[in-house]
Each structure stands twice: as C-alpha cells, then as structure tokens.
C-alpha cells in the first residue's frame, strides 16, 4: 500500500473516531437530559403533588372545623359545607390520580390506604354533620364522632410523601450511576480504538522513517560514487520502494560505466 494511502486512511480513521466520539457524547448527553427530565416529570413532580394533597387534606379538616365553629346560621353553614365538600372531592380525586400515575408500589399502597381510610372518615363526617344540623348545632357532639379520626389518613399521606421523596432520590441515583457507567463504557471503547489507531500510526511512521534512513544511506553513497559493495535492499510497493528501485538502475549504470572504462 502506498504511504500516502496509509496516511490518508489513518487520518480518515482518526477523523471518524473523533466524529464518533463527539456524536456519542452528544447522544449520551441527550440521554442523560431525557433521563433527568423523566425524573423531574415523574417522581419529583409526584412528590410535590403528594405534599399538595397533604396540605389540601389539612385544609379539608380545617373546613370541617369552620362548619362546626362558624356554621351557626344557614347561610354560613351552606358556605362552609360547600367548601368542605369541594375540598373533600378534590383531595380524593387528586389522590386517585396520583395513585394511578406513580410507578412506586409502596407509594401506591399508601395512597390506596389513605383513600380507604378517607372514605370511612367521610362517612363519619356525614354522620357528625347530621348530628350537628339536627341537634341545634351541637358542635361538641358532632366533633366527638370525628375527633382524631383524621390522623390515620394523615399518616398514610405522610408515608406517601416520604416514599415518593425516597423514590425520587433513588431514581436520580440510579440515573446518575447509569450515566456514569455508559460514559465509562463509551470512553473505554473510544480510548481502545484511539489506542489501536495510535499503534497503527506509529507502526507506519517508524516503518517509513526506517526505510527513509536506508534510502538516505544509499543516496549518500551514490552521491560520492562509493558503489563498492553497495547493496540496495529497499523493497516495497510504495513510494520509497519505487525510489529504491530507481536507485538500483543508477547503481547498475555506474557499474556499467566503470566496466566500460575498465575495458
């Protein structure tokens, strides 16, 4: 193979390697960005949603207390009852949506436990409401029915929030470990290819330099007509081989000239 072909091949190979490395890094970067976007849109956003439901549940409990403390006339009673039911429905709907959306089994279980307890609590609220409205706004009797009953569902929500936070952290850690592993594999492959490319390049370079040295030694002797015992042993199918072959002709010509003169 000609030296120019070898050099062009090595140069193109290096260019392909660099292009491949850059492309792979861009793809890897995009993959990491997509992975973190999934985490942000998934567990992180769901953890925020769980905290929002937690707050709304506390607002729902506060709305119930507003009914008892401030619903002493029909107008206020209707207002606070409406607020309570709206808040109650919103908490249930948001919790169901979050339970369907999450991939974490423990969180889903906690949310379903909350929904079950909240259903039971809603029945208690209805019973207490009946007592309140039918017993001349007896808030003590009504409160006695539901007192402390919100702690169970509240604990399930606390668990869901904690589990979603832990799930977000573990998902991010897994994403980070996966990105590092992929980067190491990528760098190992590209580094290996660069190593092979360097070996080939050095092999070609040293081969060319060695044969150029031989060519120069022959050329130096021919330049001073020192052809006694000169042996031109530069072969190969490249440019240096071709020059060596031409020098053999020069050497033969000098020998022939000397032989003619000797006769």
């Amino acid at each position: 193979m000609r030296i120019s072909t070898k050099l062009i091949t090595i140069t193109l190979g290096s260019a392909v390697l660099v292009t491949g490395l850059v492309t792979s890094l861009v793809v890897e970067l995009k993959s990491v960005a997509i992975g973190y976007a999934h985490i942000l849109q998934g567990p992180v956003q769901q953890a925020a949603e769980a905290r929002r439901i937690q707050v709304n549940f506390l607002v729902q409990v506060q709305d119930w207390k507003d009914i008892l403390l401030r619903g002493l006339n029909p107008e206020d009673l209707a207002k606070y009852t409406s607020q309570f039911h709206a808040q109650e429905a919103k908490v249930k709907a948001d919790t169901r949506a979050l339970a369907n959306a999450t991939d974490d089994g423990a969180t889903r279980q906690s949310l379903n436990d909350f929904l079950a307890d909240d259903e039971a609590l809603s029945a208690k609220y209805e019973a207490a409401y009946d007592v309140y409205t039918t017993h001349n706004f007896d808030y003590k009797a009504a409160d006695a029915i539901v007192r402390g009953m919100d702690r169970g569902p509240g604990e399930h929500l606390d668990n869901a929030v904690a589990e979603l936070n832990a799930y977000a952290v573990s998902t991010a850690a897994a994403q980070r470990a996966n990105s590092i592993r992929q980067l190491i594999i990528l760098l190992a492959i590209v580094g290996g290819l660069f190593f092979v490319d360097s070996i080939v390049y050095c092999s070609v370079l040293f081969g060319v330099l060695k044969r150029l040295g031989q060519l120069k030694a022959v050329s130096d002797r021919l330049a001073v007509a020192d052809i006694e015992g000169l042996r031109i042993d530069i072969s190969g199918h490249d440019e240096i081989g071709a020059i060596g072959d031409s020098l053999k002709g020069v050497e033969a010509a000098i020998h022939e000239l000397l032989a003619v003169h000797a006769h």
Partner: protein, 59 residues
Amino acid sequence: MGILLAKRYEEIGHEMGAVGRMKLAMLTKMTSGAAEKAEDSASNLKLIDDAILQLRKAV
C-alpha cells in the same frame, strides 16, 4: 549462462556506445557482467529487449 543477454549488450554498445550500455544498465538494473551471469530466460530477454526498444525510440 546469459549468452543472448550479453550479445544484446554488445549490440547496443556498437550502436550507441558507452552511453547506450550505461542507459541499458539503468533501465534493466542489470550490468553487462550481471547479464553474462544471468539466465537467458524469456523474462530476462523481454526485459532487455524492451529496454533496447525504449532506447532506440529515444534516439
């Protein structure tokens, strides 16, 4: 031995002189001494005949 090859060298010597022999050696990479020692093989004869033809064309 290269009797025919050596004869070709003598012919070109008579025809073109020392310069012709030198150019023949340069083209074939074979001196007259080497030609005497080489085989009169078809490839050697073709090599030297082609070179002679080239020299004659150049004149």
